[in-house]
Each structure stands twice: as structure tokens, then as C-alpha cells.
């Protein structure tokens, strides 16, 4: 074997069944990513003799005698970027950046024909973050970035600081490190939905050459925990063990094998002999609540914090405001229907996984693909009785999260192995494991009943919500509570009632997912109110506008009042105006003959942070060269908050972002950070950064004034100096002066995440529908987002576009399907359709003119919420076009066609109410 990689020759023989991807990564070419390892996502694209191939499918031995170029070899030897790299930087054609190397290598290989047909050219490349618009901009040479003057960063489109690393393949994600002596872990998973483990024989596994250890429930701590990570662990039931004696879903861990290589670990797993006592299983949440159903967790309700274990109800909410019976009696029209949402996977391009070792000081050190390093440390300490100073958890750049990494899915078992073996261990999920061994969005069934008078007054709103949390209750109760919060509070009705249940079943666990339950319930509420308006012969948007709460009205939910939630800025009226303007504009898109035309809208409200507090610490420090160090806890997974933190700091310190260096997502750099979830990266962690930066600015001016003996009022910061009446004192001189008196110029900032505000969104679609095939074509897509003062318009637009694209996937085709035994049947991207370039229409994004009284510099959150109005807006448009109300997603062509056929006798002409 002799292969040239980026101009260097490698002669090591590959293993017989090795693919080129791992051959390259084992030689340090970490720019070659594993998104799926199955040829579907394109993240591993390299060139072989100039031709682009998916290196995960390319037999390594066939590279013999050929020249391979990876993303690291794309730039000129002198470091000058390839034009495609520069374009992706200029347009910021990435968010998390995990797919970027694949897009770069593919784009670099496109000829004129392919450039003219990008939807087809990018069939083999998946991006989960951007919604593809920014990628199109990159390919087309659009420049989106700005370089504002010192102190003027806030509100401008600054590029992500990691951009140069992302486009050169040198950004370091979780697994992009070389750890000498690394051992590899593979998990044996349950083939049964419900079974008791009677015996595990590991002797044959231990005889496999290279196998170092096999861990079973005998090795695991007795105590229970929740994989969900929250500031307050009591939000989730303690129902999970590291390795349990009972398995509760197909895919649950049974044992872990640690070996010198993944191959040996896999072989070890195949050699473990497990004796199961198979138990009856229940897959449907309604069935699970019936008397006599198999009990998923036969645990003590109080200890485990499970609402009613014997009924499989992990959490529930019941409440009534007013008297819904009276409210419905007062209504002229009542609409009642059941809506259903499916299982959806986060599908971040980087899979779950962690690498852990014992550092020189004897500390357990865990590098993990996590949104919550601090809370994961807390959980590891609790699980293994370790003091916090004995555990360090950090994240590299994280390849996408979407809520899926607000869990401890791997760190516990990796830590167990490291603590026992005292050697470095890695566990990296396969793409298939992401589907059956991680978490999903909660599937919901929502019975909604809404009544209104002829004048358009909503009189009563009642919901019965059943959320299937799967085999474990991680995020189950919290998602359920959140789902019926803002969704019911945004409408004014004198009478509201809710009964909501989070229910255990013997299926793959659900967990946190962008929107956190709201999107599911909003699909039902926004669809139902649309339908109710039509039955009242009212314009659906007029009807909703009449019933939404105003800026000074209380947010009332029957599930309970949240004291710290305020409407600290109100842009919902502006959001509706955007929709009305779009509606009024004449249609320019052509509609094929025989297709039906329709339009629909939906709105959404979301709290700008989670209830119960969300803590962030930040520290800003002046460095010897006069630049700044900013330490924050929050993780970067493409959400762009690192950019925003720099902007905020640069704004307060009157400098430019390149003079602020960030250290982040590491339990060593600040005291605490609850994590990058619940859309808090800007509004909570950003506020801590604001406070730290502002305090440091004060310190600098105080010190400089005292040092110079001038009036403080006459001093101000300017890029790299303190300006004072007598001239300029460079910050490096300020540093030197402070050192001389033994002073460190540094300031801490803290925010507890309360009080909170609310953000608003609205989405509008115009669609054409082919009744003969069920195909839906989106003709126009408009999104209005009330994010308060927008910190970075380019990035915020990217968050909205990405959220809309992800929601379109969940609305149109994504579905995790289970077979009759409860096994996941869609454990690959070729079976689970993610939105591709071709699937995502360009969405017009509008920001509202508001400034929040609570958020930092007037900002509000905008990362989960764009997802939420998309499904009902599309279903409403489909209803408008076809006359048929669709109550289930996804809206796949075969289902749409079948439903239209079913109604073909009674179908009303398009546009009729």
C-alpha cells in the first residue's frame, strides 16, 4: 500500500475490511468526518485522484497507488484558502460545521452542469443546521459577513470565530483528538422490549483477543438517576441505572465491552451470552395507562419521583381556569379533534459519544459531545461519589445538538470503564445507535376542544395531552408541562382546562428536542383554531388576532402560573402584520394545471428560558498584550452564541471581536453554567457575559483614572486603549501598571436566568397540492420572528432558517418507525429522510422591531421557537387548498393522497371555508 494524502505518503497496510474514512482519521486527518458511516450524509467526502467519493464506502485497500485529498489539503500549501473555502467563510455557509468539510469537497468538485442544478448536486450531502440557504449563498459567492468598527459589534453580522478552523478541517470536535493508549467501547443492546436479565456469561467475550473488560449490571452502581440534565435534578424521575437488571426497550444497554480496537469490542459483544426472561411489553401510551397493563417501572413513587408508577404515568398536569363546561355552553361552534405527532430524531451530524481519561492530577476527565458539561459533571459526581474537583467535563466543538445532547447518554458508562481500568476509553455512537440507543422527540396525542361565539370570541379551550416518554422519564414531565404552557397562555379565553400525561412505554426513550413539547401541542391548537374560524366563516388570522393576548395581559394557563414570566417586549402584533402583508401580495409563483392552491398561517409563543432558574457565570480578564480573555460555560454546537458573546464583550469593552478570545464549555473555566439549552445561550449566558464585560470596563476605567490621576469621567475605552484628557494609555500599559501593584484586572458576571420574557413567531405558507399524487409544493414561505434586539442578524436568520427546515422535515417526512415488537425500523438516513437541499424552500425571514426589558441589550431567544409554528401553518395551508383537515404528521405524499381519496366525494373546492 502506498497512498498519497494531501502530498504526504503513507505506506501502512489497511485492515482488510477497512474503509478509507477510518484509514485517514487514524492517520490524523480529522477533517474527514463520520456523519453516518453509510454513504448517506457526505460528511466524509474526499477526492481520490480528483474525483469526489464518500470515504466511508471506499475500500481503503483500493486507495493503493492513488492520491487522496481531504479538506486539510484543499488550501494551497502556503495556506491560501481554496476559493470554495473563502466563499463558505464569506457567506458563513455553516453552523455547527460538522457537515462542512463534505460540502466543501463536494462543491470543489462541481462542474458547470452540476452548479446549475444544486438540488441534485447536493443529493449526497446533509446539513441539519442551516436549512441550506447559507450553503447556497456560499456556492453562489454571496458575502454575508460584516466587519464593524470597535465598539459597534452588537447588532451586526459578525462571522463565527471558529470559521477559519471549520473550513480548513482543523476545528476539533469531540473525537478529533489523538489519545495514546485509547481503548474502545462497544455496547451490547437488548433485543427485547421488556425482559429481566437472568444471567450474563461474559467468559467467551473476555477470551476475544484485545478485549480488556466487560461491564454488566454487576459492575454498575445501584443508584438510579436520570439521563436528562436540568439545573434541578428533581425535575426528572430517577429511573435509570448505568446498567440495569431489567431492560425496557429494544436497544437498551445490556453490557459494555472495552477493547484495544472497535473490532475486538464488537466481537466481544457478539460473544456475550445473556439469558433473558422475556416479559410482556406495552408500546402504546393509552394502552399503558389502562388497568392491568405491564408496569414499566415498578418503583416507589416518592423515591423515584414518578407520579403513578403502577399506571405508567410518570408526570401529569391537571387544571381548570373558569368553567369550560360553561364556556362551551356559551359557544356557537365547538370543534373537537384528536391530533397526533410522530417520533422524530434530532439527527445532529455528530453522533453521541465521549472520550475520557485520568489526567496527570488523577482527575477523571471527560471530553464529550454535550450541551451541558457542568450538569454532566454534577451527575457523574453523584453517580460515583466523586467530589467536583476530581472531575472535569468539557466539550470540544459540538456537531449539532437540538436538545439531544441535554442528556447524559454515554458519559456515565465511559466514566465507569475509566474509573475501573484507569485507562483512556472512547465510546462513539454509530448512526444506527442514534436512532435506537439515544432519544427522540416525544410523540404526542392531543385531544383539543375549542369553542367560540359567532363574533369570533374564543370562549373555551380544553386539551387532553398524552406524551409518550418511552421507557425512561428523562425530560418527560418537563416536556409535558412546557407543552401546555405558552401554547395555552397565548390565547385569551375565560375558560381553559388541561389534562396532560407523560406516559411510560417499552419504547426508545424520548427526550429534550427543539421546542420542548410546545411544537406538538401548537400543531393541535393552531390547527384547531384555524378550523374553528373556518366553521365560523371567519378569516383564521382575524380570528386568532382577536383572541391572542396583548402586551399587558396576563399569561394564564390551567397548568399553573409562572411567577417569573413576563411579556418584557411584545412583537406578536408585528408578526401578524408580516403575515398579512405576505397574504396581500399578489401571487407570482406558477401553479401546475390541476393542482390545488392554498395558504395557511400559525403563530407561537415561547418563554426565553426554562422555569426554575438557569445559571451562567462568565469571567472577563485583561491580558498582558491588552486583549481580553472571556471565559464562559456555554457550549458551541452551531447555535452561534460564541459569536454573540464576543460581540457583547466587544461592545462593552469598546473594542473589536478579534481582541476577545473565548474559552468555553469546560468545567475548569468558570464556576458554573447550567448549559446550552432552552434557548439560553444568548439571553442567559449572554447576560452573564454582559455583566462581566461591563464590570471589567468599569474596573479598567477606575484603575486607569486612578493610575493617571485624572477624572474618571474624562476616560473612556477605545479599541486597545483608555482615552483620557491627556491622551491614550494602551491597555497593555494598563495591564503592566496593574501587575506592578499586584492587581488582576478581571471581573465575574453572573445571571440566574430569572426573570424571563417571551418571544414570538409566526409562519405563513402558500402551497400547491397535486390531488392525484399527494405531492405538496411550497410556493412561498414567510417567517416572522420577534427576537427582541437582534444581536447578529445573519446568525439569527440562520437559526430561523434552520429551525424552519428541521420543522419541515418533521412536518413532511421524518418519522422514527417501530415494528410490532418495538424495534426501530428506520435506523439509517436512507430510511429516515432528513430534509435535503432539494426539499427546503427559501424562507423569507423578518425580524420585529422590539427591545426586551429583561434580555441582554434587549435580546430575546431565537433558536427553538422558529420550529414551532411550521407544522400547523403547513397543515392549515393544506386544509385551505384541499378542504381536508389533516390531523397527523408527517404529511407524506402517500398519506395525503389516501386521505384526499377518502374525502374525494365530500371535498370542497379550494379556498372555500
Amino acid at each position: 500500500m502506498k497512498v498519497d494524502v494531501n502530498g504526504r505518503t503513507f505506506e501502512e497496510e489497511p485492515r482488510p475490511g477497512q474503509c478509507l474514512r477510518t484509514y485517514l482519521r487514524e492517520r490524523g486527518w480529522f477533517g474527514v468526518k463520520k456523519g453516518c458511516d453509510q454513504g448517506d450524509c457526505g460528511a466524509c467526502t474526499v477526492h481520490v485522484d480528483g474525483r469526489p467519493v464518500h470515504s466511508c464506502l471506499y475500500p481503503a485497500f483500493r486507495a493503493d497507488g492513488h492520491a487522496v485529498t481531504t479538506v486539510e489539503g484543499l488550501a494551497a500549501p502556503d495556506g491560501e484558502l481554496h476559493p470554495v473555502q473563502q466563499k463558505f467563510l464569506d457567506a458563513q455557509g455553516f453552523q455547527c460545521g460538522f457537515c462542512t468539510a463534505g460540502f466543501l469537497m463536494t462543491t470543489a468538485a462541481l462542474d458547470e452542469d452540476k452548479l446549475a442544478d444544486l438540488p441534485r448536486a447536493f443529493k449526497g450531502n446533509l446539513c441539519r443546521c442551516t436549512g441550506y440557504r447559507a450553503i447556497e449563498d456560499a456556492v453562489r459567492g454571496v458575502k454575508n459577513v460584516e466587519a464593524p468598527a470597535p465598539g459597534e459589534s452588537v447588532g451586526r453580522s459578525l462571522p463565527a470565530p471558529a470559521g477559519p478552523q471549520v473550513v480548513t478541517g482543523t476545528a476539533r470536535y469531540t473525537f478529533d483528538i489523538d489519545v495514546p493508549g485509547l481503548l474502545h467501547m462497544k455496547l451490547l443492546r437488548s433485543p427485547h422490549a421488556h425482559a429481566r436479565i437472568l444471567a450474563i456469561d461474559t467468559s467467551a467475550a473476555l477470551r476475544v483477543p484485545g478485549v480488556q473488560a466487560v461491564f454488566t449490571h454487576h459492575d454498575a452502581p445501584e443508584r438510579h438517576f436520570s439521563t436528562a440534565r436540568h439545573e434541578h435534578p428533581t425535575e426528572d424521575p430517577d429511573d435509570t441505572r448505568v446498567l440495569d437488571t431489567t431492560v425496557r426497550y429494544i436497544g437498551q444497554r445490556v453490557a459494555a465491552v472495552v477493547a484495544d480496537s472497535e473490532a475486538s469490542a464488537e466481537e466481544g459483544c457478539r460473544r456475550i451470552e445473556v439469558t433473558y426472561e422475556v416479559l410482556p411489553a406495552v408500546l402504546d401510551p393509552e394502552d399503558a395507562m389502562r388497568p392491568g397493563a405491564p408496569v414499566v417501572h415498578d418503583k416507589d413513587a416518592g423515591t423515584a419521583r414518578i407520579s403513578r408508577p403502577q399506571d405508567n404515568v410518570v408526570g401529569e398536569a391537571h387544571g381548570e381556569i373558569g368553567d369550560v363546561a360553561a364556556g362551551f355552553a356559551d359557544a356557537d361552534v365547538i370543534y373537537e379533534e384528536t391530533f397526533r405527532t410522530q417520533r422524530v430524531q434530532h439527527a445532529s451530524l455528530e453522533t453521541h459519544g465521549a472520550v475520557a481519561w485520568i489526567d496527570e492530577d488523577g482527575r477523571l476527565t471527560v471530553r464529550t459531545s454535550s450541551q451541558t458539561p457542568f450538569l454532566t459533571r454534577r451527575a457523574l459526581c453523584a453517580l460515583y461519589d466523586l467530589p467536583e474537583e476530581q472531575v472535569r467535563v468539557m466539550a470540544g466543538r459540538v456537531g449539532g445538538g437540538f436538545g439531544g445532547k441535554q442528556e447524559m447518554l454515554v458519559e456515565d458508562i465511559v466514566a465507569l470503564a475509566v474509573l475501573k481500568l484507569r485507562r483512556p476509553v472512547k465510546l462513539e455512537y454509530t448512526r444506527a445507535e442514534q436512532f435506537y440507543g439515544a432519544t427522540t422527540r416525544h410523540p404526542f396525542t392531543i385531544r383539543v376542544k375549542a369553542g367560540a361565539r359567532r363574533d369570533g370570541t374564543l370562549t373555551a379551550l380544553q386539551l387532553r395531552v398524552v406524551a409518550n416518554t418511552g421507557a425512561y422519564g428523562n425530560h418527560g414531565p418537563a416536556v409535558m408541562f412546557h407543552s401546555v404552557g405558552e401554547s395555552m397562555a397565548v390565547y385569551r379565553a375565560a375558560h381553559k382546562k388541561v389534562d396532560a400525561f407523560s406516559v411510560y412505554t417499552h419504547t426508545v426513550p424520548a427526550g429534550a428536542f427543539r421546542g420542548y413539547g410546545l411544537g406538538q401541542v401548537l400543531f393541535a391548537v393552531e390547527s384547531a383554531l384555524d378550523e374553528l374560524a373556518r366553521r365560523l366563516d371567519l378569516d383564521p388570522l382575524d380570528f386568532k388576532a382577536r383572541n391572542i393576548i396583548g402586551p399587558d395581559e396576563p399569561m394564564l394557563t390551567p397548568g399553573g402560573h409562572e411567577e417569573d414570566l413576563h411579556i418584557a417586549s411584545y412583537g406578536l402584533d408585528q408578526c401578524l402584520s408580516i403575515v398579512r402583508r405576505a397574504q396581500a401580495e399578489p401571487r407570482t409563483e406558477p401553479v401546475p394545471d390541476g393542482w390545488l392552491l392554498g395558504e395557511g398561517a400559525a403563530l407561537a409563543m415561547i418563554a426565553t428560558g426554562p422555569p426554575g432558574g438557569h445559571i451562567a457565570d462568565a469571567k472577563a480578564t485583561l491580558l498582558p498584550d491588552g486583549t481580553f480573555d472571556l471565559a464562559v460555560g456555554t457550549a458551541e454546537f452551531g447555535n452561534g452564541t460564541t459569536t454573540v458573546h464576543k460581540q457583547i464583550a466587544a461592545g462593552e469593552l469598546a473594542t473589536t471581536v478579534d481582541r476577545v478570545a473565548i474559552r468555553q464549555s469546560d468545567t475548569d473555566v468558570v464556576r458554573h453554567d447550567t448549559g446550552a439549552f432552552a434557548s439560553t445561550g444568548t439571553v442567559v449566558a449572554g447576560k452573564a457575559t454582559l455583566r462581566a464585560s461591563r464590570a471589567l470596563a468599569d474596573q479598567l476605567l477606575d484603575f486607569a483614572a486612578a493610575h493617571l490621576g485624572v477624572e474618571r469621567a474624562g476616560c473612556r475605552l477605545d479599541e486597545e486603549a483608555v482615552l483620557h484628557p491627556g491622551g491614550r494609555l494602551l491597555l497593555k500599559e494598563v495591564y503592566a501598571a496593574s501587575r506592578a501593584v499586584g492587581l488582576e484586572l478581571a471581573a465575574d458576571g453572573h445571571f440566574g436566568g430569572t426573570p424571563r420574557s417571551v418571544a414570538f413567531n409566526a409562519h405563513w405558507f402558500r402551497v400547491a397540492v397535486d390531488p392525484g399524487s399527494g405531492e405538496i409544493r411550497i410556493l412561498r414561505s414567510v417567517h416572522a420572528a420577534d427576537a427582541g434586539k437582534v444581536m447578529n442578524p445573519m446568525q439569527c436568520r440562520g437559526q430561523v432558517e434552520g429551525g424552519v427546515a428541521q420543522a419541515l422535515g418533521a412536518t413532511l417526512f421524518e418519522r422514527v418507525l417501530l415494528d410490532e415488537h418495538g424495534a426501530v425500523d428506520t435506523a439509517a438516513f436512507r430510511r429516515y429522510r432528513l430534509p435535503q437541499y432539494a426539499d427546503v424552500p427559501r424562507t423569507e425571514v423578518h425580524f420585529m422591531e422590539t427591545a426586551d426589558a429583561i434580555g441582554p441589550l434587549g435580546a430575546k431567544s431565537m433558536s427553538e421557537s422558529p420550529f414551532n409554528p411550521v407544522a400547523p401553518a403547513l397543515a392549515n395551508a393544506l386544509r385551505d387548498a384541499t378542504g381536508v383537515r389533516f390531523t397527523e404528521v408527517p404529511l407524506l405524499r402517500d398519506r395525503v393522497w389516501r386521505e384526499l381519496e377518502r374525502h374525494s366525494g365530500s371535498r370542497r373546492p379550494p379556498g372555500s371555508p
Binding site: R15, P16, G17, Q18, C19, R21, T22, D37, Q38, G39, D40, G42, T45, R51, P52, V53, H54, C56, L57, Y58, P59, F61, R62, T106, A109, K114, P119, R120, A121, F122, K123, G124, N125, S261, E262, A263, E266, E267, R270, T430, G772, S773, G774, L812, F813, L817, D825, T826, A828, R830, R831, R833, Q836, A838, D839, L892, R893, D894, W897, R898
Partner: protein, 274 residues
């Protein structure tokens, strides 16, 4: 992905007894895309040196099993035959992108035997014939439409190798019409229907793939009426042969097949009248 149970790559040029755990390695785009824990040896076809596409003197076209999709697409661009456009249409019917075309082979697609395999669609519609070579060297020929017998099932013995597919000159002289649909934009085919019109005797063949578990090729001495076409499809495909998987409900595939077949019938007969 790494196939960690594979312990040896064997060059197919060197004959050696076929063993359990052996598999032919074509482009590798299927084998390396899923775990294959039952495999021990890969028998590598990449060094056979077969000419990817060969036009015989009788005008027939022989596609080597190792011909990549990219090679086929390039060849068809310059192919002078009325059926030439069908090649690119079928290449584009791949779920996989042009990058996979650089590795995936015609033979691999046939031997996978998936209903949505577009090389099956192409070669079945053009009346292709497979050349198979057994371990003892015995050769046999079988029509593509008979080679694929079910979803993922084919008439291929253990160790038997697909050498090539030959498309007769008569088929290449046909005018063709192509229709495909999927649950998704540019997605995996849920129904793929190809029509061919023979300029010599005006006979029509309609080949249904993707919607059915196996290719169904219907031959009509003259262009059928709409009713006759529908009846012929209904008669040829039993209820259980409409493919039922996550990429489309069987009743929708059936409906789409009728619709696409009728569009094709009209397109071919409209051409005929000109």
C-alpha cells in the same frame, strides 16, 4: 464503515474455492454501507479489467458488472441510439448522488435486487440479459426481468458471479418514455415506469419497477388502450407484489403506477402519430 469481521481481500482473478463468508466486492457502496458480520472474505472484482461498456458488432451493448454508474452515464452521453436518454434518466433515479456514481456498479445494483434499483429498471426495460458464471465456470444467461425475483431476491447461486448484462440492438432502437415518483423530492423511487416503442413492429413494452417487488415487463403487440394497459398491469401484479415498505404505501404505489403508465402510453402513442 469498517467491516471488522473481514479478514482477507481476495483478488477475483485468482481462482480459489468459494467459502461461506465470501462475498463479491464490486463498488463496495452497498457492502460498506451496512454491518456485514457474516462476511470473512471479500472477493475483489475491481482488477478484472473488463471493458465497462462494449458495443458488439450486432449493435447490442454489453455492460460489464463492474461498469460504474459514472462510466455508464458518460458512455450514454455519446451513445447514438433512440434509447440513449433512458440511461441518464435511470442514473439520475438513484437515491445516491453523483459521488456514489464514481464507485457504485451496474452489477452491484442488479445483485442487490432492490425494487428501487434503477439499473434493474434500465436493463429490464431494455430487455437485458444477464451473463452468470458459476464457480465451476459454467455459464448461463437469464433475462433481467427473470433474474430479480423479489425484493432483494435474485436467481443467483452461492458463489455465482454476474459477469455482464447485454442489451439487444433492437431494444436500443426503441423510443423510450420514463416516469418516476418518490415520497420525497429526488428521493428513493416508489414507482418507476419505463415504456419502449419498437419502431419496427410498433410493439410496446411497459416495465414497472420500484412499485413492485420484482420488475414486471408487459409486452403489447400494438400500443394498448388505457383500459387494456390498466388491466394488463392489474393482471400481472398480484396484490402482495405491490411493494410495501417505509418508502410508500402499496395502494399509493399501485395508483401512481397506473398514472405513470398511462402518461407513458400517451407519450409514446403521441410520438407514434407524428
Amino acid at each position: 464503515m469498517d467491516l471488522n469481521t473481514v479478514v482477507e481481500i481476495r483478488d477475483a482473478r485468482r481462482r480459489a474455492p468459494w467459502r461461506p463468508g465470501d462475498a463479491w466486492l464490486g463498488g463496495g457502496t452497498y457492502l460498506f454501507s451496512e454491518p456485514q458480520p457474516h462476511l470473512r472474505r471479500l472477493v475483489d472484482l475491481s482488477r478484472m479489467g473488463w471493458t465497462p461498456v462494449h458495443r458488439h458488432v450486432d449493435g447490442s451493448l454489453e455492460l460489464a458488472a463492474t461498469c460504474t454508474i459514472a462510466e455508464l452515464s458518460r458512455y450514454a452521453r455519446d451513445l447514438l441510439a433512440p434509447a440513449a436518454p433512458l440511461f441518464e434518466q435511470c442514473c439520475r433515479a438513484f437515491l445516491a448522488s453523483f459521488k456514489i456514481w464514481n464507485m457504485a456498479t451496474v452489477g452491484g445494483n442488479l445483485c442487490n435486487g432492490l425494487p428501487a434499483g434503477p439499473m434493474i429498471s434500465l436493463t429490464a426495460a431494455l430487455d437485458g440479459e444477464c451473463l452468470l458464471i458459476a464457480q465451476d465456470g459454467a455459464r448461463r444467461r437469464i433475462r433481467v426481468a427473470d433474474f430479480v425475483i423479489g425484493a432483494g431476491r435474485k436467481d443467483l447461486a452461492e458463489g455465482e458471479m454476474l459477469r455482464s448484462v447485454t442489451l439487444p440492438a433492437r431494444a436500443l432502437a426503441c423510443r423510450t418514455a420514463f416516469r418516476q415518483t418518490s415520497l420525497y423530492g429526488l428521493g428513493r423511487s416508489a414507482a418507476l415506469v419505463i415504456g419502449t416503442l419498437d419502431p419496427v413492429d410498433h410493439s410496446v413494452a411497459i416495465t414497472v419497477t420500484a412499485a413492485t417487488v420484482r420488475p414486471v415487463r408487459l409486452w403489447f403487440p400494438l400500443a394498448p388502450t388505457a383500459g387494456a394497459l390498466r388491466e394488463a398491469i392489474d393482471g400481472a401484479v398480484t396484490d402482495s407484489e405491490w411493494f410495501d415498505d417505509i418508502h410508500g404505501l402499496p395502494e399509493w404505489r399501485r395508483h401512481m403506477t397506473f398514472r405513470l403508465a398511462e402518461e407513458i402510453r400517451r407519450e409514446l402513442t403521441r410520438e407514434e402519430r407524428r
